[in-house]
């Protein structure tokens, strides 16, 4: 079963590769699409949702070309398995907790996924490691073409691709980059960056999307506007602004090293030490400490750990992942013990 295979790996987007991967963890694009002759999912009856799910399942699992997707019906999955998919960014939190017949098609490498009966009938997603928006666009554009050979989309010349929520209408595209910005946070410059981004209509969110807090110093930056701008122009805006944020983050890192080297060394060492020795660890604390360790690796203050290894720890210490690894349901306190055990086992000092 695909879920078991996934448990012991981490998605390709967490490999820590690709351009600027020390700061840009991943690039993601999603497209919202709807069938022309069904009501939107939220307005569809249970029977209609069943029809939509059945029809689209059949279509997306038999696409032409080399794309092979595995399909999961979410309404028959356990809540913990749905949460597991949320933590891997393969489905949205809304898709995990909503009602009715719905599913997700996932490619084994986890770079492509298609949600069915989320807010829109179809939500296509492509995820890439590092700063690779253009590659992600080429990929999702092609996936969209393949699906379009098999279904008729709701589209109007005036309003573009028609979506359940008017915030997505037009291109239906949300392009985002996931940035790790610990130094901008430490030097208290992050709010300034946010304000500047808001002025140019880009949105900033936490790791798991809308309404989540930016734990672990991870921030998602995405376009707000979907109507009246071509995909290429939307991507260009993000592509132009991200290098500036990257250079601010690098400048802040250099400033920290230059002016507060012992302070930053201490913070990183304490974080590393705590992760290696604590016996109980909350999810939130883990995120914060791993963030400092990740920064420490990028500043060459830690030399016996790699970025992909830390990326993996971020993922595997999330509640559903932890429980899948342990093979049993755990309550909050048990999870904190299991999380600390897991971290200690993974971060054991090298005997040499």
């Amino acid at each position: 079963m695909i879920l078991d295979e996934l448990t012991h790996s981490s998605g390709e987007w967490l490999r820590g590769e690709g351009p600027e991967a020390d700061i840009v963890v991943s690039s993601r694009i999603r497209l919202a699409r709807n069938l022309a002759d069904f009501p939107f999912s939220n307005r569809a009856s249970a029977m209609q949702k069943g029809e939509i799910e059945g029809l689209l399942r059949e279509r997306v699992t038999k696409l032409d070309g080399s794309i092979r997707l595995q399909y999961l019906q979410l309404h028959v999955l356990e809540p913990i398995d749905r949460q597991f998919l949320v933590e891997r960014q393969l489905i949205s939190r809304e898709h995990a907790t909503s009602e009715g017949q719905r599913g997700v098609a996932i490619e084994a490498r986890e770079t492509r996924s298609i949600m069915i009966n989320e807010e829109d009938h179809l939500r296509l997603q492509v995820l890439r490691s590092g700063f690779q928006l253009d590659e992600a666009w080429d990929d999702i554009n092609q996936l969209d073409d393949l699906i379009e050979q098999r279904v008729t989309y709701a589209f109007s010349e005036e309003f573009g691709y028609l979506t359940a929520c008017p915030t997505n209408v037009g291109t239906g595209m949300r392009a985002s980059v996931l940035l790790h910005l610990p130094a901008l946070h430490m030097t208290k410059q992050i709010e300034k960056v946010f304000r500047a981004l808001q002025k140019i209509n880009l949105a900033v969110r936490g790791l798991y999307g809308e309404g989540t807090r930016a734990s672990g110093d991870f921030y998602q930056i995405s376009n707000q506007v979907t109507l009246g701008k071509a995909e290429g122009d939307i991507l260009k805006e993000i592509r132009e602004v991200v290098p500036q944020i990257i250079s601010y983050e690098r400048m802040s890192r250099n400033t920290l090293l230059r002016e507060s080297r012992s302070l930053i060394q201490d913070k990183v060492s304490r974080a590393y030490g705590t992760l290696r020795s604590a016996t109980m660890m909350t999810s939130e604390e883990t995120m914060d400490l791993l963030s400092s360790v990740r920064l420490g690796i990028n500043l060459s203050l830690i030399d016996d750990l790699t970025i992909p290894a830390v990326n993996e720890l971020f993922l595997q210490t999330q509640p559903a992942h932890l429980q899948k690894l342990q093979g049993q349901a755990l309550d909050g306190e048990e999870r904190n013990v299991a999380r600390a055990n897991y971290l200690r086992s993974k971060l054991k000092p090298n005997p040499n």
């Binding site: 069904f38 589209f155 010349e157 028609l162 915030t167 037009g170 595209m173 809308e210 009246g228 701008k229």
Partner: protein, 165 residues
């Protein structure tokens, strides 16, 4: 500018116009603003923001809008206003007068019409999809009313129409 209560930089600026017409200005840092309950640091909730936006932009025409309902999927404009989600693709036409100012506000900086990718597959005829949507709504209602004979007939009609296309 510094916060009125401490020396931190002020990032929250508020002007209150009291019923008497007196203006009161507040300049606070985020921490003090939160303490004074000026801002509520709850999680950002897009749909509540959207609802405020929808409410703010219908203004004068709200009477006309409040009577609107989509003949195809049955959703009323007021339901859209409360939930922030439309019912079917046809709503973009039916609720046009309410949607246009809203779209301009949400998609600030963009043109007022779609620019970008278009599907290669064109609709079969302008009304074809709308008729099918309409039949599906009738079928849904027939099932809800347990009018199974009518439901069966409608299902056949839908099949026929799908196959004809």
């Amino acid at each position: 500018m510094k916060c009125q209560y401490c020396s931190q930089p002020a990032t929250v600026h508020l002007t209150n116009v009291e019923p008497s017409g007196v203006r009161r200005e507040l300049h606070l840092c985020e921490a003090c603003a939160e303490k004074k309950n000026v801002i509520n640091k709850q999680e950002l909730n897009l749909s509540s923001i959207l609802q405020t936006l929808i409410g703010a932009h219908v203004g004068a025409r709200s009477d006309e809008l409040s009577r609107l309902a989509c003949p195809v999927c049955g959703i009323r404009y007021m339901e859209f206003r409360a939930e922030g989600r439309l019912g079917c693709p046809h709503d973009y036409e039916v609720f046009r007068i309410g949607l246009e100012p809203l779209l301009q506000r949400i998609h600030r900086g963009g043109a007022n019409h779609h620019i970008g990718k278009r599907p290669r597959r064109r609709p079969r005829s302008p009304n074809w999809h709308r008729e099918l949507l309409d039949l599906r709504r009738q079928l849904k209602e027939a099932v809800e009313q347990e009018a199974f004979e009518r439901a069966a007939a409608l299902r056949d009609l839908i099949r026929q129409k799908e196959n004809l296309g």
